[in-house]
Every structure is written in C-alpha cells, then in structure tokens.
Amino acid sequence: MRPDFLRCERLPNIWCPGCGNGIVLRALLEAIDQLQLDPDKVVLVSGIGCSSRAPAYTAFDNVHTLHGRAIPVATGIKMANPDLTVIVVTGDGDGSAIGGNHLIHAARRDVDITVVVFNNYNYGMTGGQASPLTPSSSITTTTPNGNLDRPFDLVKLAAGAGATYVARSGIYFTKHLVDHLKKAIAHDGFSLVDAVAQCPTYFGRFNKKGSAGQMVTSQKDWMVLKSVAEKKTPEELVGKTIIGEFVKIERHSPASAAAPKEQA
C-alpha cells in the first residue's frame, strides 16, 4: 500500500481498538495500488456508519452522503463521468437495510460500480443494534434474548438481483480479500464484495467472542473456502460461512443490445 494514499493528518482513526474496518480499508487501498489506478480517477462514496468513515482517511476524492444513499450518488457520478472508477464503501446496515432497495436496483441496472460491504453484523456506530445481517440467535442491543429473525445472505441477494460479480471474503484472509477486491474493481459491471469484519466492542462483547485478536484468528475456524466447501456435505457446513467468488458473468448492458440495430 502506498503511504500517500492515506490522509495522515486525519489519523489516528476514530474506530474502536480492534475494529476490523481498518483492515478492510488497508486491503482496499492495497487493491487500488496493485491495479495501478490513477489516484485522480478514483472516487469513494460512502453513507453513514462506522465503515462509512473510511473514505475520509484516504487521499482520493470522496463523498459522504445520506444514510443508505451512497449507491444512488455513485450511480450519478458514474453516469456523469464514466471514466472514473467509483467505489462505494458501505456497512451491512447502511447497504442492506437503509439502502437495501438501492443495492438491488443498482445490481438490476448493472451500473459499473463496485460496492464493498464492511460487514460487522451489527450497527456499530449507534450502539450495537441488530442489522439485517445479524445471525439468528445472536445477542445485540435490540435483541437481548437472541435474534429471532434469519439474516440476509448478501451474496445470494446481490446475485438474485442481477449483480455480475459477487464475492465474499474475511479480514483474516487479507491476500484473498485483496485478490477479490482487485477482481471486483477491474470487473466491468456491478460488483459486490462482502468483506466480513469484526466489531469487538458490541457484537463480540455481547456474544462472548473474545478479544479482537481472537475474533480475527477465529475466522480460520468458521470460514470455508468455496472450493473446499463444494466437497463437503451440507451437515459439515452448518454454522460455517463460505468465502470465495460466487458470481462472475459477462455484463448484460443495454448498450450491447442496441448496437446491432445501428448496424442494420
């Protein structure tokens, strides 16, 4: 990662000790560095939440928008100037609950933006409330006896809505995460990366997941690579999260559908 990608006068960041957002941010900057993108042509757009503070620590142009409305703003930026690389930095609540409709419709329209979801399984900034991605029977501020609802599978949601690149990775597997962020940014079409991070202050403390270090290293135990998971039975995969690349298809853009007409 190039040190000049960071806005050093803004650091140290406001995140709690042991927050996973910084690790995802580093992976994102590393991916941008490895792709050798022009820093002046990268725009980071974020909504509201812990994760959405991330663009403020980078030297790229960034827009901090309304809660959940990062994707519409990013769509507008991309339409106004298609040369830019537009990356949406969002959290699990911001992206899947408040901005959930924007997410599925951006995927349906196949806008050429990249959405990076910093998934820490709860609303960290407001005190650890349950988000749509909080696993069943997990304890949060609003579900003190365990979450009764089932969580979204963000990968299946995005794939069902028509996203052309969907991947999931965890912060323990930084090389894997950087690799999939690179593929997502380079992909032509709507791409989503579900980056599983940790919230030791709320989600970890309520659910007795241990210290920040234990939460990071325990990802080895409850995450399974997709290639490994395909060889296992469904019983062996209960309680495991599968990481890897789930969707990678050619873009179905309206421009290519219109092109033959012009020729005829």
Binding site: G22, R26, V216
Partner: protein, 70 residues
C-alpha cells in the same frame, strides 16, 4: 547456508490503540501487550517479515522492512 534475514519493525505509538491483533496473528510472538496494557515489541530478532501484523493492523501503525546487510 543463506544468512538469516533481519527486519526493522517501525511502530507508530501515536496511531496504535493497543488492540492486540498483531499479538494474535504474529507466528513468531514478536509482540506482547505488557502489564500496563500497552503494545510492546519484545522479540524483534525473531521477525521473519511475513507482514501478517502489517496487513492486520487496523490503525496503520506498523511497518516492517527488510534490513540489507552490506
């Protein structure tokens, strides 16, 4: 036999929040959270330069570079 590589660990105390992630991910036990809950580099000579601590530091506080012996 090739000479053992040496690495220089730079720790930015102003940015570090003593979260202990580097202690958990380091395969050589180079770091420690000391009695006053502060981050400490206890075995810098054991560092193998795997960059695990650098990649997992949420606060961008660690830099590990190889020292070239002339």
């Amino acid at each position: 036999m090739p000479e053992k590589k040496t690495f220089k660990i730079t720790h930015n105390r102003k940015w570090c929040k003593n979260c202990g992630i580097c202690v958990a991910v380091c395969p050589k036990k180079v770091f420690e959270i000391d009695r006053s809950d502060r981050h400490a580099i206890v075995n810098p000579q054991d560092c193998i330069g795997c960059q695990m601590c650098v990649e997992h530091c949420p606060d961008f506080a660690l830099i590990v570079v190889e020292v070239k012996n002339e």
